[in-house]
C-alpha cells in the first residue's frame, strides 16, 4: 500500500493563534478517512491548509503528497496534481458558465498530466455520464458557477466536479452540512462510486450520520488541534452516543 498523504506533526495557525497543534495522519491508497471533532477543533483549518488557502502560518511539521512537499506547491499545482477540496461553502462566480469553468479546470489537469485537451463535444459527453451519478439537472450546466444554486445543489455540484476531475485525494469539508436526507444519500452515493483502489478520501464531518453512507476505514477525532483518538467506524457511533465530552475529559486526565 502506497501512502498518498503523510501529515507529520503539522502545527499551524492564523496570526498568533495556534489552531493545529501537531497533527499526524497518514492516508494510503484506497482508504477513506473520516475526521470528526467539535466546533473550532481545527477540522476546516486542516482542509484549508491542505488545499493551500492563504492566511495560515505553518510553524512546524510537514505534509507529503505522494512523497512531494505539498506545502511548497501553489494551490493550482496541488489541484492539478490531484488534490481536490469539496468546499464547505462553495463560492459563486457570477457570469462564468459552469460548463466552461469545469472544462477549463479539467483541461488544466489533463495538460498537467500530459494528456490532450478535450474539445467541447468530448467534454459534454463525459459530463452527461457524470451528471447521472449525482442526479443533477443538465440545466445547472447552463447557469453561472454556483450562482443562484440552492444549498443542496451547490454541494452536489462540488461532488459532480469531483466526479469529472477524478482526483487522487479528495477532501470533503463538511459536505453533509445543509443537506436533507435525500440529497445526503445522492451525494454519498456519488462519493462512494468514485472510490478506487488508487485514490483516497478524507471526509470531514460533525455528525456520524454521513458515515452511515460513506463508510470510512478509519475515524479520527480532532480535539483542540490534535488527533486524540483513532479507530474504525464504531468510534463514530460511540461519539454519536456519548458526544465529544468524554474524550475531552479523558484527555484532560491523561494529560
Amino acid at each position: 500500500m502506497k501512502p498518498i498523504l503523510e501529515i507529520k506533526n503539522l502545527t499551524a495557525g492564523v496570526e498568533d493563534k495556534q489552531i493545529l497543534k501537531g497533527v499526524d495522519l497518514t492516508i494510503n491508497e484506497g482508504e477513506v478517512h473520516a475526521v470528526m471533532g467539535p466546533n473550532g477543533s481545527g477540522k476546516s483549518t486542516l482542509a484549508a491548509i491542505l488545499a493551500g488557502r492563504d492566511g495560515y502560518d505553518v510553524t512546524a511539521g510537514e505534509v507529503l503528497y505522494e512523497g512531494k512537499d505539498l506545502l511548497d506547491m501553489k494551490p493550482e499545482e496541488r489541484a492539478r496534481e490531484g488534490v481536490f477540496l469539496a468546499f464547505q461553502y462553495p463560492i459563486e462566480i457570477p457570469g462564468v458558465n459552469s460548463t466552461y469553468f469545469l472544462k477549463s479546470a479539467l483541461n488544466e489537469v489533463r495538460k498537467h498530466n500530459g494528456d490532450s485537451e478535450l474539445d467541447a463535444i468530448e467534454f459534454l459527453s463525459l459530463v452527461k455520464v457524470k451528471m447521472k451519478l449525482l442526479e443533477l439537472n443538465e440545466d445547472l450546466l447552463r447557469r453561472s458557477v454556483n450562482e443562484g444554486f440552492s444549498g443542496g445543489e451547490k454541494k452536489r455540484n462540488e461532488i459532480f466536479q469531483m466526479a469529472v476531475l477524478e482526483p487522487r485525494l479528495a477532501i470533503l469539508d463538511e459536505t453533509d452540512s445543509g443537506l436533507d436526507i435525500d440529497a445526503l444519500k445522492i451525494v454519498s452515493n456519488g462519493v462512494n462510486k468514485l472510490r478506487r483502489s488508487n485514490n483516497a478520501q478524507l471526509v470531514i464531518t460533525h455528525y456520524q450520520r454521513l458515515l452511515d453512507y460513506i463508510i470510512p476505514d478509519f475515524v479520527h477525532v480532532l480535539v483542540d488541534g490534535k488527533i486524540v483518538r483513532t479507530g474504525d467506524k464504531s468510534l463514530a457511533f460511540e461519539l454519536e452516543e456519548r458526544g465529544y465530552d468524554w474524550i475531552m475529559r479523558e484527555e484532560a486526565v491523561t494529560a
Binding site: 494551490p75 496541488r78 457570469g95 469553468f101 479546470a105
Partner: protein, 135 residues
C-alpha cells in the same frame, strides 16, 4: 439618451472595471421630453473592483418632463474576492486565468451584443490590459 417620441424605450448598460489605483465613473443623462409620453428607460451600471485601492462612482442624471414615463436606474459594485480566486485555484486554474474568467463573465452581457470579431478582440484586449493587476 434623449427621448422625444411617445412610447419610446431605451436601455443603458454600463460595465466599469477598476484595477490598481484606477477610478472609474459613469456619468450619463437620461432626458425625457414633454412629448415623449409613456416612454421608458432602464439604466444599469455595474462596477467591478480588482484590488483594494481602486474605486467606482456612478452619477446618473435624470430629467423627466412628463408624468407618464418611467425611468429606472440600478447600480451594483462587486469585488473579485480572494475566495473566488482560491476556488478557481483549487480547481487547477492559475490566478491570472481566474481573473480573466471572472472579468469576462462580468462583461459578458455587453460582449454578447458586439459583432463576433469585435467581441473576440475585446476579450483578448481585456486579458492583456489586466495582466498582473491582481496579486
Amino acid at each position: 439618451m434623449i427621448h422625444v417620441g411617445k412610447n419610446t424605450r431605451s436601455t443603458i448598460v454600463s460595465k466599469g472595471i477598476s484595477a490598481g489605483h484606477g477610478q472609474n465613473s459613469y456619468r450619463g443623462l437620461v432626458k425625457i421630453q414633454k412629448s415623449a409620453t409613456n416612454s421608458r428607460n432602464f439604466s444599469q451600471c455595474d462596477s467591478l473592483l480588482l484590488g483594494n485601492k481602486c474605486g467606482a462612482h456612478t452619477f446618473p442624471y435624470i430629467e423627466v418632463k412628463n408624468t407618464s414615463s418611467r425611468v429606472e436606474h440600478e447600480a451594483s459594485t462587486s469585488k473579485i474576492g480572494e475566495d473566488q480566486i482560491f476556488y478557481c485555484n483549487q480547481r487547477g486554474l492559475a490566478t491570472q486565468d481566474a481573473v480573466n474568467m471572472i472579468v469576462n463573465g462580468f462583461c459578458k452581457e455587453v460582449f454578447r451584443e458586439l459583432p463576433m470579431e469585435f467581441a473576440v478582440e475585446a476579450q483578448k484586449l481585456l486579458g492583456v490590459s489586466l495582466e498582473g493587476s491582481v496579486g
